[in-house]
Every structure is written in structure tokens, then in C-alpha cells.
Amino acid sequence: MQVNNGYQPKIVAFCCNWCSYAGADLAGNNRLAYPENVKIIKVPCSCRVNPMFILRAFQRGADGVILCGCHPGDCHYTSGNYYTRRRMALLFSMLNFLGIEKERTRVEWVSAAEGAKFAATMNEFCETVAALGENKRLEDLRCKR
């Protein structure tokens, strides 16, 4: 995906092993395209994602970070995603409080059966982030080429 002047947003997607990573696989199986800008990191559960990882991604040049986990109630570990939900609600609210565009961060619940939802979510998220442009507010200039 390329937006004006060759700008390519970088998107990091953290996917839980049990639902969302499988959902991404299903999107692949069904050849449902989503932008190559999205790179997936597998975590056992969405609750493994430390806010530090998210900030690290922004520091290293990510323009958007999305977390995908099992739907609430379906967590493989029964309650992991409930903690994720609280942590991210507070973290995202704080990032926004600091003036960081709220569209750059997202949590989506994607089940192993929702390949189409995974692809659609990534397409839409990528477009949203591309429209915002480069991440300037949480950048670390030393990490930019």
C-alpha cells in the first residue's frame, strides 16, 4: 500500500496465538489480501503485550499498532483478554491525553474463524493510519533513516 509520495505506513500487529493468529492464517488460506505494511508478531495471549512493546514500536518507526485477541469470553486462558481490555483502554486513553492521535492504536477481537474480519480490519486500519501520515508525535529521530 502506497500513499502519496511513496509514504508507506508501518503497522505492527500483535496477535494472540489461539484466535487472532489463526484468524490471520485463515485470511491467508482464503487469499484475502491486506496491505503488506502489516507485520504480525505472535504472542501467546493478548495479555502478553506490554505497553512498553507498543511504545517501542512507535519509537522504532511504527505508524500504527494494533492488538488482536480472542473475543472477550473466549480467551484460551479464560481471562487474559479481559486484562488486555483494561490495560489498553487506559493506555490508549493516556496516549490520547498526551496528544497522540487515537487512531494509531487499536484493539480488535478476532476469532480463529474470522479471517475475513482480520483482513478487513487490517485494510481499514492501514487506511486510517495512512491518512494520518507519518507518526511524528512518538518518534525517535535516531531510529529513523
Partner: protein
Amino acid sequence: MQRIGVFVCWCGSNIAGTVDVEAVSEALKSEPGVVFSTNYQYMCSQAGQDIIKNAIAEHKLTGIVVCSCSPRMHEATFRKTAAAAGLNPYMVEIANIREQCSWIHKDMATGTEKAIILGKAAVAKVNLNAPLTPGESPVTKRALVIGGGIAGIQTALDIADAGFPVDIVETKPTIGGKMAQLDKTFPTLDCAACILTPKMVDVAQHENIRIFSYSEVVEVGGFVGNFDVKIKKKARYVKEDVCTGCGICTEKCPMKKAPNEFNMGMDNRPAVYIPFAQAVPKVATIDPNYCNMLKNGKCGLCAKVCTAGAIDYTQKDEIIEEKYGAIVAATGFNPISMDKFDEYAYNQSKDVITSLEFERLTNAAGPTAGKLLRPSDGEHPHTIVFVQCVGSRCAACAEKGKEYCSKICCMYTAKHAMLTRDKYPDTDVYVFYIDVRTPGKSFDEFYRRAVEEYGVHYIKGMVGKVSPEGNKLMVQASDLLANKQLHIEADLVVLAAAIEPDKSARPLATMLTASMDTNDFFTEAHPKLRPVESPTAGVFLSGTCQGPKDIPETVSQASAAAAKVIGLLAKDKLTGNPCVAHSDELMCNGCSSCERVCPYGAITYVDKEFRMPDRTTAIRRVASVNTAVCQGCGACTVACPSGAMDLNGFKNAQIMAEVDAICK
């Protein structure tokens, strides 16, 4: 520094069609740590695996990255390959360049570029991988079943038949549970005692089963395969191994005013009693609340008449400690209290009874010897009103009723109505229902028979008010289909009370660190796929403690739980998942945050002595992860403010290395 080998799979044309595999293996060659990089048509084939094995040996690889299909597909394959070549299987990482790349991108340049980045991320991670060995723990080959109702009985019998010793802990003086109190069972109408008591005898005679009746679990420690349980055997003042169950003491006991729990308090029993004729163990128990000897030292008659010399007024509660490999919760249910349902006049009239009381009234071993007589005056009732959903499906007030459907009431009410009409055709029987729910084999046929063959009046509507007038009960109800309000002069009103988990379930769940829902039913490890297991490893669920269910369902679940227990006990050792949390004690604050988010109760705290920077020593409270219980979700790692808690296989540093590689 690692020595990493990279293996790029073509997957025929699946990957090679849109990813330049040659370019990928070439690009990854120059990544830090990579000493070997190649590509091959089918990496998962025998020939492909041989390439990997040879490279491990030839290049002394310490880690490998396979750029191929999803790890969900072949991670296990490649881990085995690595292990076969002497490399720790957890030194293998997969870059998913098929599902996440070649299959969704059409352009070769795009696909290749992305595949390289995914490969780099995997290389970055492997650089920080460490060999992991799954923990092993021995399995105590004995199971504990908590609750001796039909669920516990079935589970215990199945486990015992498979050759493993089982202990049943039952709070009442006898096993048998609610089923022992029932008269007939739907939909076949065989007598409950006839099918249950032989099973009770089987339990009593089974060489692998021990029964701790009149006992309760007071402490649970340890973890899957290695539970340490303390069981309190309450003093029954009768030597269990000496008592012959002859019953002379119960006949001679002068104190006969104790309410008979087995008959729902509808008649009395002596202070020394055997709950019912087929009780197992068939041993007398002295009720300390009623026994004159125990209360004020005056009597002692039972000891005098007991020829076996089984009576022991000095008996004390006894604590038994035992080790178990698996624990099954089978704590069952109770009907809810009717105290808050003033409108049905349950507390005002003896002739308003619950369905379980009705069971006793129609049971040959019950207070009326099976004759259906009104509790108030012993007369035969001619008009009986059954009310369904009393406290079930009640969302308005949590103190009054339960939001869920109790599931069994529709069927037992149909049974009661049918049996009444069968035995006493001169009786008018009304059933007020909201919906009649009969999903089950031969269930709807059964209900229809009650209506069509036995002439039970099923009325769609609810009873609003029951008021005792003289020796009658005035029932005011609605008939929604006729759009009328009915006033029925009834002799007996039977309330289908909602059922709730036994009160002992919640404290037990706390001891087991097993989770519960808001209604105090135990939660399953997975509602669809692991319905007889608790999320806490080694704890299994049997019967109504997991949710309302009838006898056939309870028995199936009981056997299913037994199968799971047998599967566990059949193992000599438990191999854990090595990707477990690990606490760095030097950094741990002992703040309990991790413990609170752990869904498995895998974290405990120990006081440890540490050397402080100033060469003194100090005792600090630090977290300790039980690797046999930890499932590796990582919730604790984020709850930990100091970062002391990390997750093997998904360490903070590893994930951040992936982030860095992707964002570069």
C-alpha cells in the same frame, strides 16, 4: 553469539509463486548470527528435513529459522526435526511467509520484501532464544472426588474400574445425594432407588474406593498430579468400622424430635440415626445438636443397647492428610430458599411444598409411606396446582431468584403431574408454565403423554398469588391463552423451585483456585471443547456443580470427567509446557500483582533471604511460579511493574527484538 541456520521453503509454488525464495535466503544470510541459509522446494518433506538435520550437524547450528507456512501448521514438525538432530526444539522459530505473505500478496517484489522482513524478525528472535526443557512432575495415582451424589458415584466408579484408587468425600453421613431422595426418574419412570442403590453398593464394595462420609475438604495445596489435601472427618460418635448398621440404637433412642433432613424436614428422626435404609456406609451417626448424652451427659441408652460396642461419645473430629493426582468437584445443587416468595405462601401453609418435598411425599420410603397426603391434615388432596419457574429465569432480583433456567423442572413437574393422575385419577392437576422446555431424548413425548393420556391441565400463565383460606389454598393465576384470570381452590400447591449450587462450592473453589461464574457454578476450561475440566489443571467437574443438568446428563458428564482423570493418572510423569513465566527474584517486589492476574493460581510467594548491597542480609517476599500449573499466557508479565516476571519463549527482549526488526 548464536549460529543460526535459515531454511526458506518454496512450498512448491505456494510460496515461490509470489516470493523470490532465492532472494530471501540470500538477504537473510547477512543477518547477525546467521551462518547458513538455503532454500528448498518442500522443507517439511523428508528430504527437506534432512537438509535441516545435516546443516545443524555440519554448521554446528545453535538455532534455526524456517521461513515457511504458519507455525500452526509445521512448527511441531520442525521442532521434532531439530530435536532429532540434537538441537533443543525451542531453538526453532518459524517465519510465516505463506499465510501472511505469499498467499495474500500478488506482487513478487512486495512479497519478497515482506518475506525478508518476517525472516529478519524471526532471526532477531532466535538470537535471543534459549534452550528450554519442559518441566516434569510425578503423578500421584489417586483421585479425590468431592461429593457423593450420582455424579461423584459415577466418576468414582469409572476411575476405580480403570484401576486407580479413589476417595469420595461426602458431607452427609451417607452417599447418594439428591438422587437418593427422588421417587421415580423421568422419562422412563424407573424408581430412583432401584437404579441408584446398586451403584452405591458397588462403591462400598469396590476395592479401589474409600468413602469419607460425614467429612469435608478443609485444605488443598499443591498442583496437578500432586495435590495435598486435608480432609476433616467429623465426629459421628459411632465407630464406623465396628457399627453393623443394625439400627437398634435408632429404635431405642428416646430423643426422636430431630427434623429428618432426608425427608426434607417433613417428619422427625432420632438423635442417633441412619439416614435411610440403603445408606452407604450403613453406619449410625449421632447428631450432637439433639443427643442428650452429648448435650448434658444424661442418657447413654444407645451405648447400652449397642451389642457391637460401636458408640463412642468421646470421638473427636479427625484430620486426614492425603495426596492426590486429580480432584473432581461434584458438589451438586440444592433447591433455592422459598423464603422470599411471599406470594406463594410457602411459609404460611404446610400445604405449599417444593417439588423435592413432593418427591418425598410420593416415595414409598417417605414420611407418608408413598401415599400422597397433605402435610397439614393428612387428607388426600383433590386439586393440585404445580407452579413452574419459581425463582428460575428471574432477572428482577438476585436475592430472590436466579436468572438462569434450572433445566430440570419442566420434566420433573410433568413426571409429578403424570404420576399423580396415574395413581389418583380423581385428582385435578394443573401445571402453570411459562414455556415447557423438553429438549432431550423422549422428553417431549413424555410431556405430551402427561397432557394427552393423563389429562394434566397445562395452562400457559403464571400463578400470582396463593392465599390459604380455611383448609384450602386459593390460587390466583393467569391463563394467557384464554386471556382470563383463574381462581382455583387447591388442596396442595407444588413449587418447582430453582436450583442453585451447593453452598460448599464457593469455599471449595477458593481452595482449589478454580474459577466460578457469578451464580457460583464452576466454570469450564472451555465452554464447548473442555466442558468437564476446570481451568485449573488437575481439577475436573462432574454434575450440577458446573450447571443445571438432569440425571442422564450428569452421569455422562461424570463419566467424561472420569475419562479425563484416568487420562491424567495413566501418566507417570507430567510434561509441562516449557514456555512458562519465570520471576527474577532479585527484581521481584513481592507485591502480589502477578498472583492476582494469574488465571491458574500458579504463583505463590516465599520469604527468601537475600544479600543486600551493604552486605547485610534481608528476608524478602518473592514470587515463585509453579511451572507445572503455569500455562504461559503472560498476564503476569505485564502486571509486574518491575519487569521481574518474564515469559520463557516470549521474553520481553525477544518480542522487542521482533518489533525492532519489523520497524527497521
